[in-house]
């Protein structure tokens, strides 16, 4: 029996998505920190360094740094390597802009600390319009 956890949150950009969680309590800059043609984080020293976010539910604290973030999210979308959804615990307008114009579901304000309750590889199903995130723990899959 799969162990499932339901987390509630707030819609930023609507839509449904599912995928494996790629998660860390970390800040991300899409410009400067990622290669948007391959969907890979290349920031040296990042907890995500070398990880691929394509098709994943990408969960981190917020976007830092460059204003190229929105364009790089959009490039990743056009190259077919964007995250399936993004969950942030704080909102930077640049990540929101990138998701909004690329139709990538985005959520925030979760009723649980995602960094304590979600792990890399957990399977996530989210419905941003309903504000619901279903987490199937990796260990039980």
């Amino acid at each position: 029996m799969a162990k499932m956890l339901v987390i509630k949150g707030r819609k930023v950009v609507g839509g449904k998505a599912e995928g494996e969680a790629l998660i860390a309590d970390e800040r991300v800059s899409f410009w400067g920190g990622t290669d948007p043609t391959r969907g890979i984080v290349h920031e040296v020293g990042s907890k995500f360094e070398g990880k691929n976010f394509a098709g994943k539910v990408f969960i981190f604290r917020f976007t830092k740094g460059s204003s190229g973030t929105s364009a790089y999210i959009n490039i990743a979308k056009r190259m077919g390597v964007a995250p399936a959804a993004i969950i942030n615990t704080e909102l930077d307008a640049l990540c929101v802009l990138g998701c909004a114009i690329s139709d990538i579901p985005m959520m925030t304000d979760l009723d649980r600390d995602p960094f304590k309750s979600i792990s890399n590889g957990d399977f996530i199903k989210l419905d941003a319009d309903k504000g619901v995130i279903e987490v199937t723990k990796k260990a039980s899959r």
Binding site: V44, G68, A71, N74, L97
Partner: protein
């Protein structure tokens, strides 16, 4: 978000499909950010360039489409991916040059001022206190809000191009006085002796403030160049778009004004120890050797170019080292007219205009031992250029270029 009747009609296509598309972007974005309205914007800093990575041609088509209209407000542009005059010298392939150059007449028709700079304030785009702006470029955004007291959120290409075309931007965040309130307090006890030192303060404050509003206290008035480095560094490890310096910046006559009567969420001290720690954090080159010395991030002012020219006077840069000062073509033209370009060239250095290595990601700068006086350049070069970085002040950078090693 409430739209006026005129805005609704624009969204529905009454003013044509391009403005309808621009409005769709602004409405999607504004609603996602819980904005209450679209308000008139008076000043835009946008991009009109091909993205480095993938999909260049279709973006060119998109920009050509936008270029059929005239911008409704004064609009300057962020850096490009090439040096428009010396692209061959910096190893830019012809295709990239042609793609970018094809946009120049289109921008002119649209009324866009192709300033090609990450520092619009150094080429005359310096909005006044309270002006509603839509700016991209993280360093320029912090400068507009914190140093000038103008009002812009951290905008990107997809909001600033629509803002230029429609004359509108969603109202939230930094457009509202309450959100400009300080969040953390940083007492500055370190010696801030040059622009690089000011950059280390920005790195420290940004890392602590995150997306918040740091308030610096007890420091002297920075020069334009020092303020520029402070702002660039605030948005590296942090995502700071607004900050204050008590007694110095426009909305911080007093500490109480900076915090709008509230208390700081946390208090911090920046001493010489913290300053040294930032230098240590950004220096990651194990070898004393240097291949490239890069100065001018954000783009150098004429003042910075004069300083470099004088440091190089009568000297020769080591034959194994490239020294590049990055700025805008307009400032390079001044430097040429006044002889500073020649002083730098005679020593073996170059002025790179309209771009920088981290933006252009030119092959010449990849996988190199890289030295810079800029926190921002040092911060991004390991990822963007796979570089190993030496980080030091301007004088040390120039002396190292001459000596050939640290």
């Amino acid at each position: 978000m409430k739209l006026t009747d005129g805005q609704k009609r624009m969204l529905e296509g009454e003013d044509g499909p391009i403005l309808a598309m621009a409005m769709t972007y602004l409405v999607k974005y504004g609603e996602a950010m819980s904005a209450d309205a679209l308000i008139p914007v008076r000043n835009v800093h946008t991009t009109f360039t091909i993205p480095m990575a993938g999909g260049s041609e279709d973006v060119v088509e998109l920009l050509k489409m936008f270029g059929q209209l005239r911008v409704k407000v004064p609009t300057t542009t962020h850096v490009g991916f090439i040096d428009f005059k010396k692209w061959r010298e910096f190893g830019i392939e012809e295709r990239r040059y042609q793609l970018q150059a094809s946009l120049v007449p289109i921008a002119a028709q649209a009324g866009i001022q192709l300033t090609w700079t990450c520092a619009p304030e150094i080429v005359g785009n310096a909005p006044l206190k309270g002006q509603t702006c839509a700016w991209m470029e993280s360093a320029a955004i912090a400068y507009a809000n914190g140093i000038l007291g103008a009002r812009t959120n951290r905008e990107g290409a997809e909001s600033t191009i629509p803002a230029a075309l429609t004359g509108l931007i969603p109202r939230f965040g930094n457009h509202l006085t309450k959100n400009r309130r300080g969040t953390i307090l940083v007492d500055v006890e370190a010696d801030l002796e040059n622009l690089t030192d000011w950059g280390t303060l920005g790195y420290f404050g940004g890392a602590l403030a995150g997306l918040g509003v740091p308030v610096f206290r007890k420091c002297h008035v920075p020069t334009l160049e020092e303020a520029k480095e402070l702002c660039a560094a605030l948005a590296t490890e942090g995502g700071v778009g607004m900050f204050h310096i008590v007694g110095i910046t426009p909305e911080a006559a007093t500490q109480e004004a900076a915090f709008q009567g509230d208390k700081p969420r946390s208090r911090h001290i920046f001493t010489n120890k913290e300053k040294k720690a930032v230098y240590a954090r950004l220096n990651n080159c194990p070898s004393p050797e240097v291949d490239i010395v890069m100065l001018g991030c954000p783009h150098a002012t004429l003042t910075e170019i004069v300083e470099v020219a004088h440091l190089l006077e009568g000297k020769k840069i080591s034959p194994n080292v490239e020294l590049w000062v990055c700025t805008t073509d307009s400032i390079r033209s001044y430097a040429e007219k006044l002889g500073y370009d020649k002083m730098i060239a005679d020593a073996g250095g170059k002025i790179m205009a309209d771009t920088c290595p981290c933006i252009s990601q030119i092959d010449m700068a990849r996988n190199k031992k890289y030295m810079t006086n800029s926190v921002k350049q040092a911060y991004y070069a390991p990822g963007q250029l796979r570089a190993q970085v030496h980080f030091a002040n301007t004088r040390d950078c120039v002396e190292t270029a001459i000596k050939g090693r640290r």
